[in-house]
Symmetry: C2
Subunit: 195 residues, 2 copies
DNA sequence: CGTCTATTTGAATGTACTCAAAAGCGGTGG
DNA sequence: CCACCGCTTTTGAGTACATTCAAATAGACG
């Protein structure tokens, strides 16, 4: 099994010796997820956190009209989970599934809790992951509230050019809080700015 | 100095012995902040994190039209900082000031980093704080995008009844991403649902 | 090839905004 | 203690941004 990418991801924030790295990798289970396959559905308990080794996952929730609202996309080298369910033990509010055939490493909550006891450095690692996630979501809240649909789209496509390649327009629209029709209008306006 | 409230806050997530508690409180500096007084302005470096012992603080940022957009309110027993500036060392994007005369405990980033080395349990504490903040902001993003202005208002007033008492309508409106005029219309509609 | 879904385009509609003016409220100074 | 000033809240008319619904076109997948 190829642990190099995930260990490199960990090494961005903490330094592990060989034994600690072995302890960590022993807890990981690798899983292949086919395109459109789900790894979490609303109402289930989310007991694990996933590291995306290859491919793309999407988290979304269904509103009362039954529309899919994208919460986040996770491509190679991202971590993803229903953090609410994971942290509180309450039923998941979101769905997570694969947009492409993907390879992920999963870490069970119980194992992670034990790992925190054995190698406290991991508390630090996940503190930083959570901190960065918080910063990202706070920025997103701010921009949702203060920018127009067009500005949100331009912003997103600059910040996450990789997502634009691999995620459908409909899903981008739902991430940005607008209808797919309106995103299409925005894009056509941007294509011919002269008229 | 009365450390009971902040120690009780810490005790929600980790257990400290006397020595650790003393080590922690020795790093705190208490500060009185008068109504309308600022503790952080855009462009400054945010080198500390604040625990609100009494009173109310508000974080907001100025958009390009010069409007104040509220990012968060922090009343008694909340933690607040410009997490982006605090974590990255980049200039602050937000302003933080007091809505009432308030008493806060501040912890310097340098001291906190040393504390993490001395008492690793604090990594855990702040992991949980960051995790909860992430959950809160993620929920906020979702609701901003999928709920109408009226639903956002109803939601907010249910979830944070304390804020409604202590924060002006204009500031609530800016937190919810609507104009104060429109919030006023919503409230008047809710007052007389019959007509 | 045929089916299903995504994207584009357009017309009608609605939600929320802008601008303006009046009323309410709180703080400050005479 | 009252009067005034500035800011918040209310109300209303006109407008703009974004949605809904519908239909045509394009793409993806088996």
């Amino acid at each position: 099994m190829d642990y190099s990418a995930i260990l490199k991801n960990i090494a961005k924030h903490i330094t592990l010796d060989e034994k600690e790295a072995a302890c960590f990798t022993s807890l990981l289970s690798y899983r292949e997820v086919k395109k459109k396959e789900s790894i979490l559905q609303e109402g289930q308990l989310c007991r694990n956190i996933s590291y995306v080794h290859s491919g793309v996952l999407r988290a979304y929730y269904l509103d009362k009209e039954g529309n899919e609202n994208s919460i986040m996309f996770a491509i190679d080298d991202w971590w993803v989970t229903d953090i609410y369910s994971f942290a509180t033990g309450n039923p998941a509010v979101m769905h997570i599934d694969a947009l492409e055939n993907s390879g992920i490493f999963q870490l069970q909550k119980d194992d992670l809790d034990r790992l925190f006891g054995q190698v406290p450095k991991f508390e630090r690692f996940f503190r930083i992951i959570m901190q960065n996630s918080y910063i990202r979501e706070q920025l997103r809240s701010i921009q949702n509230l203060s920018l127009s649909a067009e500005e949100r789209y331009l912003n997103f496509s600059q910040k996450y050019p990789d997502f634009m390649q691999r995620v459908s327009q409909k899903q981008v629209a739902s991430y940005l809080g607008m209808t797919p029709e309106f995103l299409s209008v925005i894009r056509s306006k941007l294509r011919k700015p002269s008229e």
